[in-house]
């Protein structure tokens, strides 16, 4: 390697203000990011890892903690702990909302891309609206839809001579009711992702297929899907990470405890409650790290499935 392109090194021997300024300038200009990262990301990360091995009631003040080793982790991983119930709820709600999201978003993006190209901007804007709408507003509106005696859904069911269904009160129904909101909120986001993926696929490939006599279905199955794999991997990963950290929707709709029988209590809510209601920071931190490991493992599974037989690393 030649040194042709690297800037000339300033002489080391003499210190001048101008030279120091020149050398420091890049660090000064990039420092805001690093300072913010240090204070708001790296420090909390390290502190929570530290707390995960301690028993600490925050009201006792900084420093008044007791080292407990792996006790917090053992507590969370013990059979019958609420950590498992919350994790189970999270995964179940995540599946109920995540799987339909992609089953709908992908074909929808394809249809928009193929047949509604002229209205694409308008359609995607409408689909994207839920994503940028405030979660509180959304959950209040859904709360009104789901309301047992006053809700629109039960009103419609009553017109058919059915119901009333207690959408947010029957433990078995709660994951579906919450999942529907999450589905509705993020389906547009995934459509946008897939649309951008579709736009990156060259028209030539489709033209060649048309010349060869491929049907629309064959084009979708043999061209679109394989070429969308990288985008699918990306979208799946975001869904996994997002759903595993689900908090706002169930928290506002069902309250702190996760509603009837805690059926809507997600891992993130359980962690929040443990930290700020039960004031057990160590146990909460340990669970945060366990949740991180779960997300990491699921992302790895996702990665494995995508890179397996396709040959091409996404």
């Amino acid at each position: 390697m030649s040194d042709r392109f690297s800037p000339p090194r300033p002489a080391r021997s003499r210190w001048t203000y101008a030279r120091a300024q020149q050398r420091l300038a890049p660090y000064v200009f990039t420092s805001p990011f690093f300072i913010l990262f240090l204070v708001f990301s790296l420090f909390p990360l390290g502190f929570s890892l530290f707390l995960a091995f301690h028993l600490w009631n925050p009201l006792d003040g900084l420093g008044n903690w007791r080292f407990v080793g792996w006790e917090n982790f053992a507590l969370a991983l013990g059979a019958r702990d609420q950590f498992w119930t919350a994790l189970k709820n999270t995964v179940w709600i995540g599946l109920l909302s995540g799987v339909p999201q992609h089953l709908v978003a992908l074909p929808l993006a394809f249809v928009i891309h193929q047949f509604l190209r002229r209205w694409q901007t308008g359609v995607s804007t409408v689909l994207f609206l839920p994503y940028i709408t405030n979660a509180v507003a959304i959950t209040i509106v859904f709360g009104m839809l789901y309301s047992e005696n006053l809700g629109l859904l039960n009103y419609l069911l009553a017109q058919l001579g059915l119901g009333p269904v207690r959408w947010l009160a029957v433990p078995e129904l709660v994951p579906y009711s919450v999942g529907a909101v999450v589905f509705w909120r993020y389906v547009g986001w995934n459509v946008i992702l897939y649309l951008s993926g579709l736009q990156a696929i060259s028209e030539d490939v489709y033209e060649a297929a048309t010349v060869d006599g491929a049907s629309a279905w064959q084009k979708f199955w043999f061209i679109t899907l394989p070429l969308l794999r990288p985008m699918m991997f990306y979208a799946f990963t975001l869904t996994i990470v997002g759903n595993m950290q689900l908090f706002e929707e169930p928290f506002i709709m069902l309250g702190q405890g996760g509603g009837s029988g805690g059926a809507g209590l997600t891992s993130a809510m359980h962690i929040f409650n443990t930290a700020f209601r039960d004031l057990d920071m160590g146990y909460a931190s340990a669970m945060s790290w366990l949740l991180f490991l779960a997300i990491f493992a699921l992302s790895m599974v996702n990665n494995y499935l995508f890179s397996r037989d396709g040959g091409r690393e996404p």
Binding site: L55, N57, P58, L59, D60, G61, L62, N64, E71, L75, G78, R80, D81, Q82, G143, M144, S147, E148, N149, L150, R166, A169, V170, P171, G255, Q256, G257, S260, G261, G262, N273, F276, R277, D278, L279, D280, Y283
Partner: protein, 414 residues
């Protein structure tokens, strides 16, 4: 005397005067306590024109989360911290608030001036007294007189025993179609916190032994009777603070409600103002007396203006006029005993059909026993509620549910 000494004396005088001029006292509170503080500030300003009150009001949960964080780090603490009953025992067990038993506060002589059970609520396990009570929430039994009349039910028949309460509920349901209560869980919530034995808390006793379990008669009865209410179809299955709850109050589809006395103000002001005159109150069933809410003021150990903080707290809690101002502002029931003797308390309450309800509440408060609190109460409460839902919604066996609840609480209480 020479000139230097004079100058120094003058400077000192000036200095202290200036210091007095500049005091700003920060008070952190939540609704509707903030409204009471605002109502009292004019009187304070007249007395102490040099001390400006800076009120930091946040929503209930936000306020307590912010205070938790502030106490944890020792940063951003107010001079005076308002604490609601749901947090006071947890804050008491922490080390971030001053013990008011000690100098410079020496609050011990003031304790007997308050409704007795509040003192225990603000006292830690190691007997530190960390907050002065300002208002209390005597638990009471609201009922719709019109609904009971229509069903031909005598309200007194509902307070003798829980079995009588449920029997009356069946009559009400049959004759009027109205539900007895919003949720069967309410029955559990009253039973587990009333008629406690001495030395018992709700979930733990004063030796930190867990009481929840299949052998505890109080919990078995609470779960069993709740289940009976549910099985008889007597509860509307409505959660509190929901639109359905307010709607039920407006339409009279639910005949009774257990709550704090403060619910009357909420019903009158915004929940169901049109039902004026239809409501009455009586004591809880089986001579149960319970505390249902309440607020306190504390001084953080790292507060800047402890002297003025204490003056302010005394002004809010020990001054009868302040207590009455708060009561008139938002119905905050005074914790101060002399304020409870104000003539406003013997007045008829028009919303309750002219009933002299405040006398009833005052007596109920006097009969309420201090309940032993434990720092794992919130953990236990959450687990018990979840198991109760399993019993109500999924027909889980009561003893099994309590066995499971016990095992789960024991894991967490360490």
């Amino acid at each position: 005397m020479n000139r230097t000494a004079l100058t120094i004396a003058a400077a000192l005088l000036l200095g202290s005067a200036q210091a007095q001029d500049k005091v700003t006292l920060t008070v952190a509170a939540f609704p509707s306590l903030d409204s009471a503080i605002k109502a009292i500030i004019p009187a304070w300003n007249k007395l102490h024109p040099n001390v400006t009150i800076k009120l930091q009001a946040q929503e209930y949960a936000d306020h307590h989360n912010a205070m938790t964080t502030a106490l944890a780090t020792g940063q951003g603490l107010p001079d005076v911290m308002a604490i609601e009953i749901g947090y006071v025992s947890k804050f008491a067990e922490g080390q971030g608030l001053d013990d008011l038993n000690k100098a410079p506060y020496n609050a011990t002589p003031y304790k007997k001036l308050f409704t007795p059970f509040t003192i225990g609520q603000a006292t830690s396990a190691d007997k530190r007294f960390i907050a002065m009570p300002t208002d209390i929430g005597p638990g009471t039994f609201f009922y719709r007189k019109d609904v009971l009349d229509k069903a031909g039910v005598n309200p007194a028949s509902m307070t003798g025993s829980w079995e009588g309460f449920i029997a009356a509920g069946k009559t009400i349901k049959a004759k009027t179609g109205a539900y007895l209560i919003n949720t069967a869980a309410s029955v559990n919530n009253v039973i587990i916190r009333t008629n406690l034995k001495k030395g018992e808390g709700i979930y733990f006793d004063d030796k930190n032994a867990l009481l929840v379990g299949p052998d505890n008669a109080r919990f078995v009865r609470a779960f069993t009777l709740s289940k009976q209410v549910r099985d008889a179809g007597l509860d509307a299955k409505i959660g509190e603070w929901s639109n359905e709850w307010y709607d039920a109050f407006k339409k009279g589809t639910v005949a009774t409600q257990f709550s704090g006395a403060w619910l009357q103000g909420a019903l009158q002001n915004w929940m169901a103002p049109d039902t004026k005159g239809l409501w009455r109150v009586q004591n809880l069933p089986e001579k149960g007396f319970a505390s249902w809410g309440g607020s306190f003021y504390a001084v953080p150990s790292k507060a800047n203006n402890k002297q003025w903080a204490w003056e302010f707290i005394k002004f809010m809690t020990l001054n009868q006029t302040s207590q009455i101002t708060a009561f008139k502002d938002n119905g905050a029931f005074p914790a101060l005993l002399t304020a409870q003797k104000d003539k406003a308390f013997s007045e008829a309450v028009p919303f309750l059909g002219g009933q002299k309800a405040r006398i009833l509440w005052r007596d109920a408060a006097a009969k309420t026993q201090p309940i032993d609190v434990n720092k794992y109460d919130s953990v236990a409460e959450q687990i018990v509620q979840t198991e109760l839902t399993n019993v109500l919604e999924q027909g889980k066996d009561v003893k099994q549910a309590l066995t499971d609840a016990r095992a789960q609480i024991l894991r967490r209480a360490r």
